[in-house]
């Protein structure tokens, strides 16, 4: 509604607000003002009413005042010259006998976001810091931080900083905490507020007066303080002991974090703290609030990285309830997998089995994967369940079970026989590509165990010729066929021949075609040679020894504990982490951070290196290297990356959505005009040429339309480069965005792009020449 006839509405309000009859009637006046605020909330631009609203601020009605202030804070930056008119009223209010009015005026004065305000602000702020009402002092203290954020570049006023440090001794607890917050923001560039021994001890003594929000913030500030001696350390810890059991999950977790941090050299103390905090952590995942439950579960998972067995006796707390949202169920299943031991395995499996038939395919598949992971230790029981699930004949379940089988066979070779039997008797075929690939892998690798394997393969192969599958499945199909040919040549020869023929002659995907050609040539060199190349290990029994994840030292995760990081999935948490690093370290960390951004997916070289770095964990499964690993690899990678030669790669592919998201998010880094005005003549050629230099074309407008546009992307080492090419009349403009920034890669990319264009031009001219002849 507000978007239609908005001008009319504003005019009408203007008329009403300046009507003396309305102004005389207090309630009607307030009513109109709240109408203005309502439109403001809905997104209508009501800044034209600024004059009338400023007039309305001179009133005794506090509610009206608050509304007008809210309005002014929103629009002051748009109309700074009019906002100055309000300053007088505000300053007058700052001297009002009522502390509430004083506080209100001061707060809103600081909230006005406009330049040149500082000179008016300083005097009332200093007065506010010394006000006898703590309400005003609270406001004034944060006001200092707001003033600083208005002009971040100006010199820090040391007198204010000193005053704030002095106010840390204020009798009002909120003033104390606000002082910490304000100092932290003002002194951000110098490393934040300094917590020395007297301040730390003062804060510790005030802890019990604080409200829960302040407690948890103070505990975070205290992380900066390092007790001088063991004696002091234990005094501090015993003082904070009660807070480990705080009713507020965030306070309990903040205390735990502090304990772990302080006692980093006393493992016994750490373990004791973890033990004692199980109760509040468990309580937090039993609360009625889903969100807090979710937060609690995420934190439990973090604690379990160091002490997997801590919650073993409470495994029943992690059984899912029917009405819980998916995100909670997924976490609970992950936790259950870790908690399995000899006593509870039967019950846990029983429970997980009931989740396998969940309405949501995603949850059902997660449950099956979970059983698959438990199967690495309790093979028999799990195999029974998984095989039973196959008889349900539902696509998503079959697919997940076969994927679980694939991983299982890799980890526990002793299960091969039963898996083969199960596959043998399963008549259902998975429909999604992941499931198909798993099935193909099993068929190819264990064709001796599955007597019907060649016929299943033949059937799949015939399917493939009929319907288009994803290249990944085709590759797997090729490999499976060749492998099967090695073990059962007579039954496979025909199928393999047809498949190779199809892939070489008719396939449009380069990768698949190349692979087919490769196998073809390999087979020409003889069976022995092919065997030597293709037969790798069928399983890795050494991995089956690893029944669970290894225990990590607490230090790996404690820095992230009780922040946003545990709640985000791994990739995001790394982004957060890197952002934090970026915020604290000024320069030169970009290249060092690079490996964090893509986590081993960017270039094969890098994946290889990570594989070396964390040998036992990188396998065919989803068991990626734990995020903590990056801490250690960080420093060593940085150097190498700087020296590494520049190379582009277009994989992993980027979806349209992802591209769009990144494009909107990022700033344009570089724009350049290219002197090659014939890009639009043959977009397909351009695409092919760019592909050769590993630049992927995501989308382009049809040829011979103006303006002509194309969107490209590529990756280099660890940065991703997004590009838009825009051709109007006879100029070609290239705008580039990059994340994270890397000058070297950018330069390399631009020169690659330029040479690609030149090639295209050369080709075109040739053609033209040919035509003219």
């Amino acid at each position: 509604m507000p978007y239609f006839g908005s001008e009319e509405t504003v005019k009408e309000l203007k008329r009403a607000l300046s009507n003396p009859n309305v102004q005389a009637d207090r309630l009607r006046y307030r009513d109109y003002i709240s109408k203005v605020i309502r439109y403001m909330t809905q997104g209508l631009d009501v800044s034209a009413l600024f004059m009338e609203m400023v007039k309305a601020s001179a009133t005794v009605d506090i509610v009206q005042k608050k509304l007008v202030y809210l309005y002014m804070c929103t629009y002051a930056s748009v109309k700074p010259e009019l906002a100055l008119l309000a300053i007088n009223t505000l300053r007058k209010d700052c001297a009002d006998p009522n502390p509430m009015v004083r506080g209100l005026a001061l707060r809103n004065m600081c909230n006005l976001r406009m330049p040149g305000l500082t000179e008016y602000l300083e005097q009332p702020l200093v007065a506010g810091l010394r006000d006898k009402a703590s309400y005003v002092r609270r406001v004034a203290v944060l006001g200092c931080a707001k003033m600083h954020s208005l002009q971040p570049s100006t010199e820090i006023d040391s007198s204010i900083v000193n005053e704030l440090y002095a106010l840390l001794r204020d009798p009002d607890p909120v003033v104390v905490v606000n002082c910490l917050r304000a100092l932290e923001e003002i002194l951000k560039d110098e490393g934040g507020v300094v917590i020395n021994k007297p301040i730390a001890h003062h804060l510790l003594n005030r802890m019990k007066d604080l409200d829960s929000w302040s407690q948890s913030e103070v505990l975070t500030f205290l992380l900066r303080y390092i007790p001088r001696s063991d004696e002091e350390l234990f005094d501090v810890l015993s003082l904070l002991d009660a807070f480990l059991q705080s009713p507020h999950a965030h306070v309990a977790m903040a205390t735990l974090c502090l304990f772990l941090h302080y006692a980093s050299s006393h493992t016994a103390v750490q373990n004791d703290a973890l033990q004692r905090s199980t109760a509040p952590l468990l309580a937090s995942c039993g609360t009625t609030s889903r969100e807090l439950r979710f937060a609690g579960l995420c934190h439990i998972r973090q604690v379990m990285r160091s002490q997997p067995s801590l919650f073993a006796s409470h495994y029943k707390r992690f059984f899912c309830s029917y009405s819980e949202p998916g995100y909670i169920k997924l976490h609970k299943m992950e936790i259950l997998v870790e908690l399995v031991n000899d006593e509870n395995v039967a019950l846990v499996l029983e429970e997980l089995r009931s989740y396998c038939t969940d309405v949501s395919p995603e949850l059902a598949q997660a449950a099956i994967t979970a059983i698959g992971r438990i199967a690495r230790t309790y093979t028999e029981k799990c195999l029974e369940i998984l095989t039973g699930l196959l008889s349900l004949k539902q696509d998503h379940i079959t697919s997940a079970v076969i994927q679980a089988f694939k991983d299982l066979v890799w980890f526990c070779p002793q299960s091969t026989a039963s898996v083969c039997n199960a596959i043998e008797s399963c008549t259902d075929r998975p429909q999604d590509s992941e499931g198909k690939r798993a099935l193909l892998w099993l068929l190819g690798e264990h064709s001796e165990g599955i007597s019907s394997a060649p016929y299943v393969l033949e059937e799949l192969c015939a399917d493939e010729l009929k319907t288009e599958w994803s290249p990944g499945v085709k590759l797997e199909l090729l490999t499976a066929a060749v492998k099967m040919f090695l073990s059962r040549p007579a039954e496979t020869q025909d199928t393999l021949g047809r498949l190779l023929h199809h892939c070489i002659e008719e396939e449009s995907d380069m990768c698949v075609r190349d692979r087919a050609l490769f196998y073809y040539r390999l087979l020409q060199r003889g069976i022995q040679e092919t065997k030597r190349v293709l037969s790798g290990p069928k399983s890795d029994p050494s991995l089956s020894m690893l029944t669970g994840r290894q225990e990590e030292p607490v230090i790996r995760w404690v820095s992230d504990f009780n922040t946003l990081a545990p709640l985000m999935n791994k990739h995001d948490s790394m982004l957060k982490e890197s952002e934090r690093l970026l915020a604290t370290q000024p320069m030169g960390v970009f290249s060092a951070l690079a490996p964090l951004m893509d986590n081993g997916t960017s270039s094969p070289l890098q994946t290889e290196r990570q594989r070396r770095a964390s040998e036992p964990v990188v396998t065919t499964t989803e068991n990626e290297p734990p995020p903590g690993d990056t801490d250690t690899t960080l420093s060593s990678h940085g150097k190498e990356d700087e020296e590494e030669a520049f190379c582009l790669s277009a994989s992993p592919p980027l979806s349209h959505e992802e591209f769009e998201k990144l494009w909107v998010e990022l700033q344009t880094l570089h724009t350049q005009n290219l002197l090659a005005p014939c890009a639009q003549t043959a977009p397909e050629t351009l695409q092919a040429i760019l592909q050769m230099v590993h630049i992927q074309t995501l989308a382009f407008t049809p040829a011979h339309t103006l303006p002509w546009r194309a969107f490209l992307y590529t990756r280099s080492a660890a940065t991703i480069i997004l590009t838009e090419i825009l051709q109007e009349e006879d100029t070609v403009q290239v705008s580039v965005k990059q994340y994270p920034e890397n000058k070297l890669a950018l330069r390399g990319f631009l020169s690659t792009l330029q040479s690609a264009f030149q090639t295209l031009n050369a080709e075109n001219t040739c053609e033209n020449v040919a035509l003219s002849f």
Partner: protein, 420 residues
């Protein structure tokens, strides 16, 4: 810290938007709407990261509350804060609904102004907030009141304002997995609360002072004491005293509040047993029989019993026969809802239904969701009992005897599900 707070209705229209910090722009409001409220798939996480801005959201009935931040904040705290925010709003105007929020939007802006400043939580106790925001809004406070604000905000006790006077002293405790207390007491009284916590009873048993509370007149639970696994208290309770002596003493806030929340896992008496029988007769018929048995003293009455028996999606018709209460098939909810007003202890009741199904070629088997049940029973299934509640007010002249006290025990079903 928190950069902004937004409230939306179920359609994604903005009802309230308050930005506290510069780094949050107006487009953040739309980003959340587009990416979360209007998203096609289900909510995947209560925290959403859009363009390096984190959105924490909580949903109350069909209202979305979202807190926005660009920093790496303490997630648990933000959620708890959002819940606190809901509590405060409920205390001011009742249920959180679109209607109520629209009608009280001025008040909500006032609250948001006081609760957060520059994104930092300031004052979130309803009791104390009521001195700032009176909903009258007219500057008519007397000198006395002004000084009260000053002392209030400087005082140590944030949850109770001073100078509360009542003619009758009323206090009641209500035990239900949590202890909710309503107190209307004058002055600054100090209260002591006692319950049949195992540790305390054992301690006193050793001391020789045995209490008579074992003689319970309440439902099936004849236990003397219960083992509390863990409990959390309202901030008014002195935790140090609880840790050392296990005694709960506090200066109560005024009005209704949750004194403590506890959890027990051992020896819980389930008030009802649900025995389901499902028989598939051919492809188009299901026979369901559900028996519920009440398992507590016959003199007690359970109330508001509601059993919800899920039916398959392709149900075409249902015939129900029940001996007690009323049962109805609700096609929109895919369930048979069976309601019984009252039911005494140690009784049994059953319902049988014939469900006719439409033949489908959907191979998917019916997932058989659990049978859920709701009820209220007049005792605490955990066995927790209030042993005493004492009030001391040294300054005003009323004593423990003048206080009118009563206790009500309610066992309310949370999620009570039986798989069939």
């Amino acid at each position: 810290m928190i950069g902004g707070l937004f409230i939306y209705n179920h359609k994604g229209e903005v009802l309230i938007s308050r930005v506290y910090r510069d780094d949050i722009g107006r487009n953040a409001v739309d980003a959340f709407r587009v990416n979360v409220i209007h998203a096609r798939q289900q909510v995947r996480s209560p925290v959403t990261n859009i363009a390096r801005t984190s959105f924490f959201h909580v949903k109350r009935s069909n209202i979305w509350l979202a807190a926005v931040t660009k920093q790496n904040v303490n997630a648990a705290m933000v959620f708890e804060f959002l819940y606190k925010m809901c509590d405060v709003m409920t205390a001011y105007f009742g249920k959180i609904s679109e209607e109520n929020i629209k009608n009280n939007f001025v008040l909500i802006y006032e609250l948001l102004d006081e609760i957060l400043d520059f994104g930092y939580p300031q004052n979130s106790e309803t009791g104390a907030l009521k001195t700032f925001i009176t909903q009258q809004g007219i500057k008519s406070q007397s000198k006395e009141e002004q000084s009260q604000i000053t002392s209030q905000v400087t005082g140590q006790i944030g949850w109770r304002r001073e100078g509360i006077k009542y003619r009758r002293q009323v206090l009641s405790a209500h035990v239900s997995g949590r202890v909710v207390m309503k107190s209307y007491l004058s002055g600054m009284p100090e209260c002591k609360f006692g319950m049949n916590d195992k540790i305390v009873i054992d301690k006193q048993g050793k001391g020789g002072t045995t209490d008579d509370t074992g003689k319970s007149e309440l439902g099936g639970s004849g236990k003397q004491s219960i083992a509390i696994d863990d409990c959390t208290f309202h901030q008014c309770v002195r935790l140090s005293k609880f840790d050392s002596e296990r005694s709960i003493s506090f200066i109560p806030p005024d009005g209704e509040y949750e004194l403590m929340r506890y959890r027990t896992t051992k020896d819980i008496i389930l008030p009802f047993r649900v025995i389901p029988l499902v028989r598939e007769v051919g492809r188009t018929k299901l026979e369901v029989k559900v028996v519920i048995k009440s398992n507590f003293k016959p003199s007690l009455l359970a109330q508001k019993i509601e059993v919800r028996i899920p039916t398959p999606l392709n149900t075409s018709g249902v015939q129900v026969i029940c001996m007690k209460g009323k049962a109805k098939y609700k096609a929109s909810e895919n369930a048979i809802v069976w309601k019984i007003k009252r039911m005494a202890g140690m009784k049994e009741s059953q319902i049988s239904a014939e469900i006719e199904l439409l033949p489908t070629n959907d191979k998917k088997k019916w997932a058989r969701p659990p049978i859920s049940m709701n009820f209220e029973v007049p005792f605490a299934p955990s066995g927790l009992k209030v042993r005493y509640l004492k009030v001391f007010e040294p300054k005003l002249n009323y004593s423990d005897h003048d206080v009118i006290k009563w206790v009500r025990y309610i066992g309310r079903s949370g999620i009570y599900e039986t798989r069939c």
